[in-house]
Structure formats: C-alpha cells, structure tokens
Symmetry: C3
C-alpha cells in the first residue's frame, strides 16, 4: 500500500485538523467577547463551557487520528474516511450544543463515541486479519 494513494484518509485528517484550528479560534473569539485575557481560563459559564468543549476535542483528537489511520490502512480507507466524516460532524454538534448548555453536549458526544467505536472495531478487525494472513496464511 502506497502512502500517497491514501488521499481519502489524508483529506479527512487535514479537514479535521482545520476543524480543530477553527474550534481553537472560537475559544479565542469567546475570550475577546468576555474580555478574558490569557492565561486566565475561568470566567462566566458561557466561556467555561466553550473552553471545556474545546479541551475535550483536543483530548480525543489523537485517539481519533490513530483509529482513523489504523482502520483506513488495515481495513478500508473509504469506510474509515466515512466514519471519520461522521466523527467531524459529531464533534461540531457536540461543540455547538455544549455552548448552549452542558446537557446539550451529549447527543454530539455519544455520536462521536459511536464513530470512534466503528473506527476502533474496523481497526481491530483489519489488524487481526493482517496477522492471520501473514503468520497463519489464513485469508478471510
């Protein structure tokens, strides 16, 4: 498998990194709106929710990237890219919901977990298939 044939995974990765940059910028705009100068990270509940929403996205982003690429390389790049797009939509719903209220973060969060669950299962299946093929000559 050639690395530069994986442009679907690269495109989803690049789009998701642009989304992460955009979410960081939203936190910056919220800082300006509420006049909260760095390094402060506390303020009115609206600011603390958007700050925390971003942090949660940051915490899960490397997990997402690992699962996207292992499932994409070892199972199917199209399936991984589709689940990756779902994850990006879910993260946006999560972020936009969290801004409104703590409770409204949940639908997007569960959707993001579902997308990660799909990617993780595809990755595990793909790696297991690869090991069976290489070491046991079993072709599924």
């Amino acid at each position: 498998m050639d690395l530069d044939s994986l442009y679907l995974l690269a495109a989803v990765s690049l789009l998701s990194s642009m989304q992460m940059g955009y979410l960081a910028r939203r936190v910056g705009w919220s800082r300006m709106a509420h006049k909260i100068l760095p390094p402060a990270v506390t303020g009115p509940p609206e600011f603390e929710r958007i700050f925390r929403a971003h942090q949660n996205c940051v915490e899960f982003y490397p997990i997402f990237l690992v699962m996207l690429w292992t499932s994409g390389v070892f199972f199917s790049d199209a399936a991984a890219a589709a689940a990756g797009m779902l994850y990006m939509v879910a993260r946006q719903l999560y972020f936009n919901g969290y801004i409104q209220s703590t409770k409204k973060r949940l639908p997007g969060f569960y959707m993001a977990l579902a997308a990660l669950g799909i990617l993780c299962l595809l990755g595990l299946a793909g790696i297991a298939r690869g090991i069976l093929r290489k070491h046991f000559h079993i072709h599924l």
Copy 2:
C-alpha cells in the same frame, strides 16, 4: 517499506488509543462519583489528581506516537512495539499511582520517561542511519 506491513506499530498505537479512551472514561466516572458536572474541573483532591493524571497522559500522547513510529519505521518495528508496550504499562502505573497520592505517580512517570527515552534514541539512530545510507552510501 509497506505501510500495511507495520501491523505491530499499528496494534500498539490502536491499543494505546483504547487505553487513552479508557483513562478519559475513568475521569468521567470520577466526575459522577464526586457529582462534578462539566465544565467544572475543580473539586476534592481525589478528583483533581485523577483529572491531572489524565491531562498529563494527553500532553504526552502525541510525543509517544511520533517516537513510536519514527523508531519503528527507521530502526526496528519489534523493538519500538516492545518499548511502546512498556510505555503503556508505565502510563497505567502512573495513573493508578496518582489516584492514590501525588507522590505515587512518580515510579510510573519515570518508567514512562525511560520508555520515551528508548524510543527517541532508536528513532534518532534510525534516521541518522538512513541519512548516512542515502547521502553518503555508508551502510552500518
């Protein structure tokens, strides 16, 4: 080197991302146990320790992934995967220790640093060897 032949590195990456998801969940369970609703990140010392333990794992996770893959691709995938497993064990010891007391985080932390040190040295050695081979035709 074929990307989908690197299933050892992929397996360690996927397992470590599942560990990171599990640690995030442990923080969520601690939130529920102490009734600390997001976006709050302060509370009793037990909660603040588990929250901080997770944050430290998040901060180091991309560093770990870069060192795992550079050492695995340019030096040896088996050696990198072994040091990667050591890192995962160390991170679990760190996390479980930190929950008990701030001091008990240290053995796991130093073990994680040792694993990162090994991966970093293997990566540097592997890249240096690759440059010597390609540009100076020196085969070590």
Copy 3:
C-alpha cells in the same frame, strides 16, 4: 512513495516531539521554582503563563503533525520540513515570549499560525492534485 524514504518529515517530527518534551520539562521546573505541587495548576502569574503557554502548544501539536505529513507526502517533503522547522522556531519564540508577558506571546503565535497556514495550503494543493491525477487523469 516509501515510508522510510520520508526521513526529512520523520526528523522534523522527532525534533518537534523532543521540543514538546522539553517544554513540558520547563513547566516542571517552574513548578519546582514556585513550589507548586501537582495536581495544582494555579499560582503566581509567572507560573500560570508558562503553564498556559505549554497547554497551547499541546493543543496545536496534533494539528501541526497532520499538516506537516499531508503537505510532506502529497506536495513536497522538503517544503513541508522547512515550514515545520519554521513552526518549531515560532513555538519557541511564543513560549519564551509568553514567559515574559502575555503580550509578548503574540509575535511567535502569529509566526506559528503562518507556518501552519503554509503547511495547510501545501497539503490542500497536494491532495487536490492527487485526486485530479487519479480520477480525472489531469497531470499538473
């Protein structure tokens, strides 16, 4: 494209991960200097600035890695490595500036954003060119 021919990208990735480890260590040294034992993350403004400087670097690091590799694989590894080195210098200026005052973080920050902007544009251009070549047989 062979993964182990991409030693320029691997070298910049490994150096940047060592930089991230060094910045984490700087925060640790600041903890010791100000006697701020974990899990506390508050203290005198000097500590809160260095802590926040590191956090900001952590938030952007996976974005940087994705943009470095997509631009390096799909556009040019030399151009991506050069912009990656620029990013590392910018992050160091940002970090060193932030320690002195909140305002002095800005030159390094804008320089880091510029480096990311270059990497992102190269990545988008490279992926678009790849799709045109593969699906539309248009060679630019």
